[in-house]
Symmetry: C2
Subunit: 499 residues, 2 copies
């Protein structure tokens, strides 16, 4: 699907659309409809089960979206969370400089400053996409945080957090003391972050309000032991910093030949397994992209984007990041809060380092639709893994007959405490199947005359149709629950060797 088709599909089937759509839609904010909210929730629950619940030292917490000014001064966001913007001298339209240049076919380094930008605009005679002028005001940094005024005079400055990570760093000290006072300690947050994007675009890719799923692991780099041996032979696709081609390389080689720390490579394996094996992204559509130089935040010691090939976004696109942030965060908040965050572990004082696993939830939801929506044999099927499916099964009656509908109702009531179901008594069977295929429902249960006919050998049975192969099996109603539960549940331990 291209961008436009995907947007139309998402609206038609209840996935997502711009907020306040009836008022023309807001730029950069999206709402999830009934189907989208379930898909998003299932992705989040799988993320949580796989990355957090598998480790007794990792915990989900929740933090407010509004933060006071001080922590964002010390985190560096107040001074440095900037994009470079440039204004057309003629029509006064603003642009994010890097995007303007990229869209005009001009290459500048990621993280380029105003001087480099201004030079590139001039040298390449870049035109304003709006009025075609080539006269630009000097470009300048623009802080992407949104501020709010609190209190009766709105004079207390607050910011909407630009990343959920800060809520985790601000709670490390309390949680370390509440918990077992040992490292590693993981704090996970699924929540909203806010960025005043100049040009929100590409649907759920660049948003002003986004949902992040982030895990911050606090650890002592000298003694953190991960079980690397089991995973070191796994091959991953990586584009290393400064290279122009991807290579396929084992995690062990990344450690030995490229100086990637073992704990970092281990988590590459964890993430690679999540995308390829858990979610089912085809190998050729996944890669790690190493960032270096100006491209990465200065405090990151190792920084890779995780990219999936998303056709509607035009190619490989960032859906997650793995960042070894060193001790920057807790050192800064130690200064800012005047509370020493170094901790005593095994008699040694250490400022915990941070490894950040950061996922854009909205991007991942969009990616699922892009990668798994397929047109096959004249059908449109969202071929997501069954545990991600918004509804695990739909229940229909073959005909609009009170007796059949009563049987549907009985089965529905029996199953509904255990499975998320779609109940639909209207339309033709063919149309109902098509609808369920399109939103990825793995099974359709149909009640027919045999179900209720005491003289039929099929009395008390229903047909259960599978989404992908369209095969139908006839099952006793008492067998349906186990059959569907088994095929749609999620066990994170089947994929990776967790400690």
């Amino acid at each position: 699907m291209d961008m436009e088709e995907l947007v139309a599909f998402a609206k038609r089937r209840g996935l997502f659309w711009p907020s306040a759509e009836i008022y023309g839609g807001a730029a950069g904010t999206y709402d999830y409809g009934d189907v989208g909210a379930l898909l998003k929730r299932n992705w989040e629950n799988a993320w949580l089960a796989y990355f957090v619940d598998t480790n007794p030292d990792y915990h989900l917490i929740e933090g407010a979206g509004i933060l006071p000014e001080a922590p964002l001064v010390f985190s560096g966001h107040a001074a440095k969370f900037n994009d470079i913007v440039v204004e057309c001298s003629k029509c006064n339209t603003f642009y994010r400089a890097d995007i303007l240049l990229r869209d005009s076919g001009v290459a500048v380094s990621e993280g380029a400053g105003p001087a480099e930008i201004d030079k590139a605009l001039k040298e390449h005679q870049v035109k304003c996409p709006h009025c075609k002028s080539t006269a630009w005001m000097p470009s300048k940094p623009f802080n992407m945080m949104m501020d709010v005024g609190l209190g009766p005079e709105r004079s207390i400055k607050g910011y909407l957090r630009p990343e959920t990570a800060q809520s985790a760093y601000l709670n490390f000290f309390r949680e370390f003391n509440v918990l077992r006072k040992s490292l590693p300690l993981g704090l996970a947050i699924i929540g909203r972050a806010f960025r005043n994007e100049i040009s929100p675009r590409q649907g759920l890719y660049r948003m002003r309000e986004l949902v992040q799923a982030e895990l911050q692991i606090f650890f002592d780099p000298e003694i953190w032991k991960v079980d690397f041996k089991g995973i070191s032979g796994r091959e991953v696709r990586v584009r290393l910093y400064g290279k122009t081609a991807d290579e396929t390389i084992t995690l062990g080689e990344l450690v030995e030949r490229h100086g990637i720390p073992e704990f970092y490579a281990y988590h590459m394996g964890l993430i690679d397994t999540f995308y390829r094996d858990v979610i089912g992204v085809p190998s050729e559509k996944l890669r790690f992209l190493e960032k270096g130089g100006n491209e990465k935040a200065f405090y990151n010691k190792v920084h890779m984007d995780i990219e999936v090939y998303v056709e509607s976004w035009g190619g490989f696109s960032e859906v997650a990041g793995l960042h070894y942030r060193g001790d920057y965060d807790l050192t800064q908040h130690s200064k800012g809060s005047k509370q020493d965050h170094s901790v005593l572990v095994n008699g040694k004082k250490v400022m915990p380092n941070v490894l950040e696993l950061s996922f854009g939830v909205d991007r991942n939801v969009w990616m699922l639709v892009d990668v798994f929506y397929a047109k096959t044999d004249g059908r449109s099927v969202l071929q997501i893994k069954p545990f991600l499916a918004p509804f695990k099964a739909a229940i229909f009656s073959l005909q609009k007959e009170p007796e059949l509908e009563k049987a549907v109702d009985g089965i529905y009531k029996e199953l509904r405490p255990h499975l998320k179901l779609f109940l639909d008594q209207s339309g033709s069977i063919g149309r109902r199947y098509a609808r369920m295929d399109e939103i990825g429902t793995p099974f359709c249960i149909t009640v027919d005359y045999d179900t209720v006919n005491k003289d039929s050998p099929d009395y008390g049975t229903v047909t259960v149709r599978s989404r992908d192969d369209r095969k139908q099996v006839r099952l006793k109603t008492s067998e349906v629950l186990d059959y569907i539960k088994k095929a749609t549940s999620f066990d994170p331990y089947g994929f990776f060797s967790f400690g």
Copy 2:
């Protein structure tokens, strides 16, 4: 517990504390720690299972927190979402007028305007709590919404939504068309709302950023049929508008004698059952408080608060509301969006009415701690229902011995895909039990020498201790999962007769 004790307990046990605590804490925003996040999540999941998943016409959706200005102009919030504030002439401290007066022992009607407030301040010679002056500036309305400036010049005005309800109203039109184009249609949201409270206080009671769980039911008042017969005999405690005492009255009598619509009384029964039977709030601690006159929003046709007696807040306190909002919301958004929201149902054109079930999630979490924390036989126990418990079980080894710890590890790995567990290898058994009692863990599983001793008749068994009666049973490890799952799972259908 009083306020101070509850706050201290919440910090000590990982429940909640002010955001950015290490920087001195922000006023009116709170973070949830590892235990609090699980408790909150379990409450939310129970709410969702009981109020939303029980009805195939009700759906969870999700909406952005930032909204454009226009919908909030038409919803009335831009003009009318005001508190009356008053400023001390001498020290320039601001107060929310109704709270200042109440704290000074002066009664004014809820919703009193500036004239009434100024008169009361003067007549009763109310003193500034800060400087003791009695000289006040004229009181004035203060809009409680927080605004944000979007775009490169921050000139595009947005608001942080003051209630999640608006996201539901803004999505009705799309969802009605995506779904079966029939009424009733329910849209539920669990999400954050933002209010610039002048005096945030009382912990999770009056917050600047709060979490709401709201269900908006869109219906045609002439034809909505609820199954009232089964519930009409249920007695509820109500303080009717204008009365000074509570009365216990059946839902049927409320309909017949007090003109409460049947669909409204039915939902009172649903909510009453949720609090008393599902959550387990003692009957004497729950009541409905009817609002009328200036106390209720002008568009509400029937408005009741649901109050629980919360000792740390000093008495009956609002935890939820049931609001029959008429057709105000969709009529206004029809005007604002120029999109007629009336729909054709059974050949009749109707502007859907709204019944709103609105719950303050943070308040409900606080309430759980206040109501269910008990000191008995020298123990402190959070006696919440097992399905609400952050951890369903803890696993300990009796002694710090490699063989026992290996057995603990084996059981832990067997159970963890199915139950949220607390794993603790440190401290005395007594201290570990005490900690689990305090955060409401229903079961503690202990591995001892008999567990691993092949010659013992108890080989392969563990002790399972119950939180409330402290009784221990000896179970085979293979029986533990079923035993605990049965006791800690939640089936909403056991409480109320759903259609």
